[in-house]
């Protein structure tokens, strides 16, 4: 019994470290990817290929002065970034990183916790994240920050609706909201063809749902083309205009953690999570198979993180009315259509 809790604590710490590590190196990757897309070199001074750049950035932020503006609400000013970071770090609890490891007969679950409402838990925690931005922007007592915070919260709640609707079609097919269950179901045979084992990914059944989901994920993470809350040119940073030092760091860093978690969600909901096609044919030892699965999952996550960056450095940002129109008048009707299509499809092919 006790050993189970020790395992859980260990896993929580590992997941936490991996989230932070991936997020830290995403900041470097973002600069390298942008440099590549714009035919530049990117950071290359701190360590070989700039490999120590995230550490240098972190140390720099720690040694900067903390400024709390005289007009700001001091308590809420500190609460805002804290809340944003805490919620960003908490969503990873329900993601299954791999099949259970076999430690000499004892199964070590590579998922912090398997709650039966996994998908809803993620939505709930993400919604609390909106408060982080709203509180921070309001407490700054700065017009830019307030505008940024209002835009952010308005945008995030709008796209959350479409996101929730796009997931419903997926849940109709899986019959479960536990992420572990959803990923496990994707290990089967695609369209019942026995050759395509381990390819039963939801993307092949829910392409429209995935499209809606990924657009909403971009909007939830405030990434380009949906980065209106922080657009540097008009709002000078938006909700974090007044922030400095590590409180600014928390806001910026949490965005990358969010990106990591939403990539993990996309990979596990639609791209089979840790499932690798044709892996079973190789007849590997069980633990090696688990390990390959975890690696495959992280490859998928890294691909999606790269996709986030690729879009950011390719597409310009929307105008606000276009953003709202896309969210309410395109994505929500499309998501409802997707539910209807899924329903009819399932009844016809049952």
């Amino acid at each position: 019994m006790e050993i189970m809790w020790i395992e859980k604590i260990l896993l929580v710490v590992i997941v936490f470290a991996i989230s932070l590590g991936t997020a830290a190196y995403s900041t470097l990757a973002e600069r390298k990817v942008s440099a590549f897309l714009q035919d530049r070199i990117g950071p290359n001074r701190a360590g070989i290929f700039g490999i120590l750049q995230p550490i240098a950035d972190g140390v720099k932020l720690f040694f900067k002065e903390e400024i709390i503006p005289a007009n700001a609400d001091r308590f809420l000013f500190v609460l805002g970034p804290s809340l944003f970071m805490i919620t960003a770090l908490m969503t990873s609890a329900v993601i299954p990183w791999g099949k259970p490891l076999d430690l000499g007969g004892r199964m070590f679950d590579l998922q912090v916790t398997d709650i039966n409402i996994g998908v809803l838990y993620v939505f709930a925690v993400v919604s609390i994240g909106v408060y982080g931005i709203m509180i921070g922007g309001w407490a700054s007592n700065n017009k830019y920050s307030l505008m940024g915070a209002l835009r952010a919260s308005s945008q995030m709640i709008s796209y959350e609706l479409a996101m929730g609707l796009s997931i419903i079609a997926l849940i109709m097919m899986s019959g479960s909201m536990s992420l572990k269950e959803i990923v496990a179901q994707q290990s089967g045979e695609l369209y019942g063809i026995s050759f395509l084992k381990g390819m039963n990914w939801n993307i092949f059944y829910q392409p429209l749902g995935f499209l809606i989901f990924i657009v909403c994920a971009f909007a939830e993470c405030n990434r380009t083309p949906f980065d209106l809350p922080e657009c540097e040119a008009e709002l000078v940073g938006g909700y974090h205009t007044e922030y400095s030092s590590m409180k600014l760091g928390l806001y910026l860093f949490a965005e990358y953690v969010n990106m990591f978690v939403s990539s993990a969600m996309m990979a596990s909901l639609y791209f089979g999570g840790y499932n690798v096609p044709f892996l079973e044919m190789l007849n590997l030892p069980y633990n090696v198979e688990v390990f390959v699965g975890v690696l495959a999952f992280f490859t998928k996550i890294i691909f999606f993180i790269f996709f986030f960056m690729w879009i950011r450095w390719t597409i310009p940002r929307f105008r606000y009315d276009q953003l709202m129109k896309l969210g309410w008048k395109v994505l929500i009707p499309l998501a409802i259509l997707n539910i209807l299509l899924t329903g009819f499809g399932m009844i016809l092919t049952k």
Binding site: V12, F16, I67, N71, N141, N142, L165, D321, M324, I332
Partner: protein
């Protein structure tokens, strides 16, 4: 302690780790950074000019409207979830489970189109 409550304990652990990290970070950067407060540094930033008035001001009603409509529809969307989880069982008995949901969905959609036709989501 029941099984289902035990499953939420790791979430509490994750919360403790996350908030521990955040508190450490904020305290550390407060201890490490310089503290030279001057009047203008603590001033609100407004394009490098003297700030005009307070930021506690009126803003567009549209944001409020979007938030209200979101609350309305989000509550309705939540009702879809229990139905979606059991959908595979419903289709065993034919069209009925789906038809009942269409009956629920129709008023939601009517409300949605009413909101759009009223121009509640028009941004100009």
């Amino acid at each position: 302690m029941s099984e289902s409550i035990q499953q939420y304990i790791p979430i509490a652990m994750q919360f403790l780790v996350a908030s521990g990290f955040v508190i450490t970070t904020i305290v550390a950067s407060w201890l490490l950074g310089p503290k030279v407060k001057t009047l203008h540094k603590l001033d609100t930033f407004e394009s490098g000019l003297q700030p005009v008035g307070n930021a506690r001001m009126q803003f567009s009603i549209k944001y409020f409207l979007v938030a209200t409509i979101f609350v309305l529809f989000d509550v309705e969307v939540i009702f879809f979830y229990p139905w979606a989880v059991n959908f595979r069982e419903f289709i065993q008995e034919g069209f009925e489970g789906f038809g009942k949901m269409l009956l629920f969905m129709a008023p939601v959609l009517i409300g949605f189109f009413y909101v759009i036709k009223k121009g509640a989501l028009e941004w100009d």
